[in-house]
């Protein structure tokens, strides 16, 4: 853990951690819980909206859905990354394997199915784009895996 870590410094600026608001300890704790609630709410509503959009609107919604998912993924990675920088691992399988994860996976699968449906049934959205999308997702997954391995090795050393 280092306080001069770029991500920690970024979080301090974006989160306005120096605000006098955080001086009062219970106020800070309550706001932390409210922020967690807000993050979960954004996570679920974005995924739900994206899934509904892709199934209702179809291919024209794809760019917006992909953009929203990329943004959501980046925000989640930064949030998890910040916690890990300060020694809190939130990706332990024992902690993650809960009913809510199953619901989230189901929602994600519905979204993926909607994307595939849009890819193969609509003229405006070609199958090649779906292949590109899948390749991009695979590359992103690979990059995340590499990052996770590197960060785990760093934390061990």
């Amino acid at each position: 853990m280092t306080r001069t870590d770029p991500l920690v410094r970024l979080a301090r600026v974006v989160g306005d951690f120096g605000s006098p608001f955080y001086d009062e300890e219970r106020q800070r704790d309550v706001w932390n819980e409210a922020s967690a609630f807000g993050l979960q709410l954004v996570l679920w509503t974005t995924m739900l909206s994206a899934t509904l959009a892709i199934w209702i609107v179809g291919a024209p919604a794809v760019p917006y859905v992909v953009a929203a998912l990329c943004l959501l993924g980046a925000v989640c990675m930064l949030t998890i990354g910040y916690a890990q920088r300060l020694g809190v691992t939130v990706t332990d399988p024992g902690r993650m394997l809960r009913l809510r994860l199953l619901l989230y996976i189901l929602l994600f699968l519905a979204l993926c199915a909607g994307l595939l449906r849009a890819a193969f049934l609509r003229e405006t959205f070609s199958a090649s784009f779906a292949v590109g999308l899948a390749s991009g997702a695979g590359a992103a997954l690979f990059a995340l895996t590499v990052l996770a391995l590197v960060s785990r090795r760093r934390s061990r050393t």
Partner: protein, 83 residues
């Protein structure tokens, strides 16, 4: 707080505060926290930081150990919980 951080632990802050003759608002000002924080601590809904606990003990002429019981109070069983 939505999730009670005191985990059902009891404390004697209210008793000591009444013995000393302070109001919740006065104690809060003296500790530099909001009155709601004192209310939450007394109700067992919030576990104060070690620094706030030390401040409370000093202002109430007590020790942290006498204010905060280490034992957990038995939690109320959830409705329909037969175990």
């Amino acid at each position: 707080m939505g999730r009670t951080s005191a985990q059902g632990r009891t404390n004697a802050v209210r008793t000591h505060r009444q013995q000393v003759g302070l109001t919740q608002a006065e104690l809060a000002v003296a500790c530099g926290v909001a009155r709601q924080t004192v209310v939450a601590v007394e109700a067992g809904d919030y576990a104060p930081s070690v620094y706030l606990a030390l401040d409370l003990a000093r202002l109430l002429s007590a020790t942290v150990e006498s204010l905060f019981d280490a034992e957990r109070a038995p939690l109320d069983p959830a409705p329909g919980d037969l175990s």
